[in-house]
Amino acid sequence: MSRISKEEVKHVANLARLAISEEEAETFTKQLDDIITYAEQLNELDTEGVEPTTHVLDLKNVMRKDEPKKWIEQEDALNNAPDHQDGQFKVPSVLE
C-alpha cells in the first residue's frame, strides 16, 4: 500500500512553497513513498517512554540583553536584493 498519494504530495509542496509540475508530483510521490516506507523500520523499535533528543548537548537558552547596536547598514542590506526601492525591499503585491 502506498504511504503517500499524489494529492498529498501536492499539498506538501504547497506547504513548502514549492511550485511543482504534474510530472514532478508523480516522481516525488514514488520517491517519498520509497523513503517513508524504508523509514517505517523505526516502528520495529519500542520507544515508549524514551525522551526525544532535540540537541545532543545539554543546552540552556542563552539570552542577551535587548540593546540596540550597529550591525548592517540599510544600504548594504539592500545590495543583494533582487529588487528594492526607497531603501526597502520591493516585492509584488501581497493581496490579490
Binding site: 513548502a16 514549492l18 517519498l32 524514551v50 516585492v91
Partner: protein, 490 residues
C-alpha cells in the same frame, strides 16, 4: 616537489626564515588550480585578485608576525559565508549572492590568524549529497581517478587538498560530509564534537547536526587548524563554552594501553572486503603499537539512516524557508503575486535533491504525521546516542571504516536516492550522537582508490581522536602517497 607537501608548520618556518614568501605560496596555489582544476573542478569561485594583494601586504610583515596561520593559503567550502566574496552553497538560488555582508566566525578566525583565502570550494547543493553530483555548478572529481566521485558534500574541500591546489581547507559535516570525501580522496578530515566550532555564518542545513571542520594532508595539520577555529562564540547559541586544549600537544605518538572498541555492525557483510581488510590491518597495527581492541556493539546502527533522513530533512525544510526571493538570491521573472514569487523562485532556484528533502521534511513535520515520523526519529536518536555513551564507558575510541566502499564512479548512483544515502551509513550515527570523528587514509583498493579509517571519540575528546590517528599515521605510509594528476607534480 610541491610546496604543499610540507606541513603547515614547516611552511610557516620557511616563511619565517624568508626561504619563501606568502606570494610564492599563493602563486603556487593558483598555478596548480590553473593546471588541474579544469579536470578536478574543486572551486566554484576564486578570490585571486584579493588573495594576491593580501599576500603582498603580508609579505611586508614576514618574519615579524607569528599569527597562527600567517600567510598560509586556504580553501573554504562554499556554504561558509565570506564577506564580499560570492557564497553560493552550490545552489543556483545563490548564483548572484556576490556580496555577503559579514564573515562567518570561522572565517573571522582565519582572518585574525592571517591565512589567505584562495577561493570557495565546490559542494553538493546546500550540503545535500554524497558525491558532489548535486552541485548545481559542475561536479568536482576525484583527483585519484577523475572518472570517480570525490564524495560529498565537501567534495571540493577534499579534492582541492588531495590535488595539491591548497594545503588545507574547511568543510562541513552533517551526516559524513567531511569524513566521507576525506576517505574517498585520501586526506584527513575531522568532524568536531557538536558545539566545538561556531556555526555562525554556516548556511544551515540541519542545525542539530551541522559542524564545520578541517580537511588536511596530515593529522598534525588538522589538529593545528582545529586549534584555530574551535571555541565558544556568543553569536552561536549552540556553541559550547568548553575550554579548547592544545590539540597539537596531544600528538604524543603513544597509544600504549589505548582501549579501542570495534563495532561489529561496522564490519558487517555490507562492507566491501577490501575496506574490511584495510581496517583489520589497521587494528593489527594498533596492536603492534601497544593498543588493545575488542569487538563492541552499537545495536541501533541500522536505524541511523532512517533517523537521519527524517531529522535532517525536517530541519532543512525549516532552514531553507529563508530562501524566499526577497532579500537576496534568486527571484523568478514576471511574478504577479507574492505567493507566486515564493513558489516559482524556489522551484527555479533549487535542484532535485534539495526539493526532495524539503518535501520529505515538510511531510514529516506536517500535521498528523509529526508524532509518527519526526518525534519517533528523535526518540530513536536518543537510543543511538545511548549506544555510544555505553561504549565510551569502557573504551577510549571507536574504530571502523569511514565508508562501506571506496569511491564510486560518476553517474553510478545518481538515479537512486536510497543507494546514494547508504554511503553515509557509517558516518551518520556520529552526527546523531554529536561526538567527534576523523577519517584518515588506511590503504588503497585494487583500483588505486584510497580507503579511510574512521576514529570516533567521546564528546569534546578530539585530543584522544587525534592522538590515536596520529600514532597510526606515523607508523604507516599511506598519507605520503599523492595522486598522479596532470601538471607539474605528475
Amino acid at each position: 616537489m610541491s610546496l604543499f607537501e610540507h606541513s603547515l608548520r614547516e611552511l610557516q618556518e620557511k616563511l619565517h626564515n624568508k626561504e619563501i614568501s606568502v606570494s610564492d605560496l599563493v602563486e603556487e596555489s593558483y598555478k596548480r588550480i590553473n593546471e588541474v582544476d579544469g579536470e578536478v573542478q574543486a572551486f566554484i569561485t576564486l578570490n585571486e585578485e584579493a588573495a594576491k594583494a593580501k599576500a603582498k601586504e603580508l609579505d611586508e610583515q614576514r618574519g615579524n608576525d607569528d599569527a597562527k596561520l600567517f600567510g598560509l593559503p586556504i580553501g573554504v567550502k562554499d556554504n561558509i559565508v565570506t564577506k564580499g566574496l560570492r557564497t553560493t552553497a552550490g545552489s543556483q538560488f545563490l548564483r548572484n549572492f556576490e556580496d555577503p555582508l559579514y564573515d562567518a566566525t570561522v572565517v573571522q578566525k582565519l582572518n585574525e590568524a592571517k591565512s589567505v583565502t584562495i577561493g570557495k570550494l565546490n559542494m553538493d547543493e546546500f550540503a545535500m549529497g554524497s558525491s558532489n553530483e548535486n552541485s548545481s555548478y559542475a561536479a568536482a572529481r576525484n583527483p585519484w581517478n577523475t572518472d570517480y566521485v570525490p564524495g560529498g558534500s565537501s567534495g571540493g574541500s577534499a579534492a582541492a587538498v588531495a590535488a595539491g591546489e591548497v594545503p588545507y581547507s574547511l568543510g562541513s559535516d552533517t551526516g559524513g560530509s567531511i569524513r566521507q570525501p576525506a576517505a574517498y580522496c585520501g586526506v584527513v578530515g575531522l568532524k568536531p564534537t557538536y558545539g566545538r566550532v561556531s556555526r555562525f555564518g554556516l548556511i544551515a542545513f540541519a542545525s542539530s547536526l551541522d559542524q564545520i571542520g578541517p580537511i588536511t594532508n596530515t593529522v598534525e595539520d588538522n589538529a593545528f587548524l582545529l586549534e584555530t577555529i574551535a571555541g565558544y562564540d556568543k553569536m552561536d547559541s549552540t556553541s559550547a563554552n568548553v575550554d579548547v586544549p592544545s590539540y597539537t600537544e596531544a600528538l604524543t605518538n603513544d597509544v600504549k594501553g589505548l582501549k579501542i572498541g570495534v563495532p561489529k555492525e561496522y564490519l558487517s557483510e555490507g562492507v566491501n572486503p577490501e575496506v574490511r581488510e584495510a581496517v583489520q590491518n589497521a587494528l593489527k597495527k594498533y596492536e603492534e603499537l601497544g593498543a588493545t581492541w575488542e569487538e563492541v556493539s552499537l545495536p541501533h546502527s541500522k536505524y541511523a539512516l532512517s533517523t537521519y533522513y527524517l531529522l535532517s530533512s525536517s530541519e532543512a525544510s525549516a532552514n531553507l524557508a529563508r530562501f524566499d526571493g526577497v532579500r537576496y538570491g534568486k527571484r523568478a521573472d514576471d511574478v504577479e503575486s507574492m505567493l507566486e514569487m515564493f513558489m516559482r523562485s524556489r522551484a527555479e532556484g533549487f535542484g532535485d535533491e534539495v526539493k526532495r528533502r524539503i518535501m520529505l521534511g515538510t511531510f514529516a513535520l506536517s500535521s498528523g504525521y509529526y508524532d509518527a515520523y519526526y518525534k519517533k526519529a528523535q526518540q530513536v536518536r536518543t537510543l543511538i546516542k545511548n549506544d555510544f555513551e555505553k561504549v565510551f564507558e569502557d573504551y577510549d575510541v571507536i574504530v571502523g571504516p569511514t565508508t562501506p566502499t571506496p569511491a564510486f564512479k560518476v553517474g553510478d548512483k545518481v538515479d537512486d536516492p536510497m543507494t546514494m544515502y547508504a554511503n553515509d551509513i557509517l558516518t551518520i550515527p556520529v552526527n546523531l550522537a554529536g561526538v567527534p570523528g576523523i577519517s584518515i587514509p588506511c590503504g588503497f583498493s585494487e583500483d588505486g582508490l584510497p580507503i579511510g579509517l574512521q576514529i570516533i571519540g567521546n564528546h569534546f575528546d578530539e585530543s584522544t581522536v587525534y592522538r590515536a590517528a596520529h600514532a597510526y599515521e606515523q607508523a604507516t605510509e599511506f598519507h605520503k602517497q599523492r595522486p598522479s594528476l596532470g601538471g607539474a607534480n605528475a
